[in-house]
Subunit: 233 residues, 2 copies
């Protein structure tokens, strides 16, 4: 596949699961949640109900750990017919607080790749989720100095990207997005005429999954790690 990156001047990086580990902690929290409630339902049913609750609450709470905590609490009440011990609610709060305070674990080669690319391109961070959480992670990552701009979006749909590129005065054809989520980081960009490179992470939240139908005929590179960016650009 021949894709021409020669017009690219600005590169946007997704953060969670592109620069650092994130989804893994949600999987771990879901495991702990399922153990706490194992007396009430099968693990499978607990997982399903929590996911359904998150999706039902997504419009109200948006993305991020606080909304996830509230959905865990609501699921615990529902799954147990309000019989769940009060101590379990306290444990759920602890699971969430631990997630928020978790140290940032950078993915492989992030620093080296940003260092090299920052000499040739204007780099920005485009993440969605909780403003404070994302600012805190960037701060702790020690990566902030590589970036000209950081934008935390409430969602990553085509219109969000168009608005942002207009605001930053970046022409669509000069923009390349790098991220792990086909739904949020790749397809909306390809659809608006920008470039995107997919770097899959080993686990993807069910909500971010797309079907073959969505990706058919879309043109973008998929790489195995950020380091491969240096061969493409």
């Amino acid at each position: 596949m021949e894709i021409d990156y020669q017009h690219i001047k600005v590169i946007g990086f997704d953060a969670d699961d592109t620069l650092w580990v994130n989804e893994t902690y949600f999987r771990e929290a879901e495991e702990k949640f399922a153990s706490l409630l194992e007396g009430y339902e099968t693990k499978n049913k607990i997982d399903q109900e929590l996911f359904k609750m998150e999706i039902d609450n997504l419009e109200l709470y948006g993305y991020g750990i606080k909304g996830f905590m509230l959905s865990m609490i609501e699921s615990a009440l529902d799954l147990s017919n309000q019989q769940v011990p009060q101590k379990t609610i306290a444990d759920i709060l602890d699971i969430g607080k631990e997630m928020i305070s978790h140290p940032v674990e950078l993915l492989n080669d992030v620093e080296m790749v940003l260092e090299k690319l920052s000499k040739k391109y204007r780099l920005i961070v485009l993440t969605k989720g909780d403003l404070l959480d994302q600012e805190r992670k960037l701060e702790r990552s020690n990566l902030l100095h590589y970036f000209h701009h950081v934008e935390v979006l409430s969602d990553k749909k085509e219109q969000n990207y168009l608005n942002l590129l207009a605001h930053l005065e970046v022409p669509v054809n000069e923009f390349l997005m790098i991220g792990n989520s086909l739904k949020s980081d790749i397809l909306p960009l390809v659809n608006i005429g920008a470039k995107a490179i997919h770097v899959p992470f080993h686990t993807t939240w069910q909500h971010e999954e797309v079907t073959e139908n969505d990706t058919n005929g879309k043109t973008y590179h998929t790489i195995n790690g950020l380091k491969e960016l240096l061969k493409l650009l």
Copy 2:
């Protein structure tokens, strides 16, 4: 007091309790929370403990309704020695969800004042709190078209304002901030050499209160309603 606004080109508006009602809903939620827990402690003690919990969690959760919901749940567990009925936790979730879905109530004269000022100045919104909540309120307010830029900050300290003005390329002496919170909207601006006009709201969250010591010697106008801006500018 003679304050010269002739260099002002950009006006920043706080949103909560400056453009629309907000703190009132928190007061109402606190009342409901106290009623739910009245069997365990005096109203006064319940109020105090909830406030203390919010402050203890502020660094972790930041500002906004979701963090407030989580702090109410944690307080309910603490105040009752984990004896609070599970139904009460469900009621607390409902209180919060109702806050998030509340229609936007504009304060007096907001639309008229923005309409007039937008012809002479570049208007921006600077709020703190939850990104999704604030975007949703702006959307529902129908005020979005008056503003050149909307920025949701994780906090409103001097450095947050300096970073933002630098990013927007607005010289400090051309910037005027309008808001109801001395701590967040007025004093940081006066301290960095920008202008600020205080429009008090009838209720202020305890965390936002400042002492006379903080305001002594600081130069800013206080007005009784947004309409009075038209006389000053």
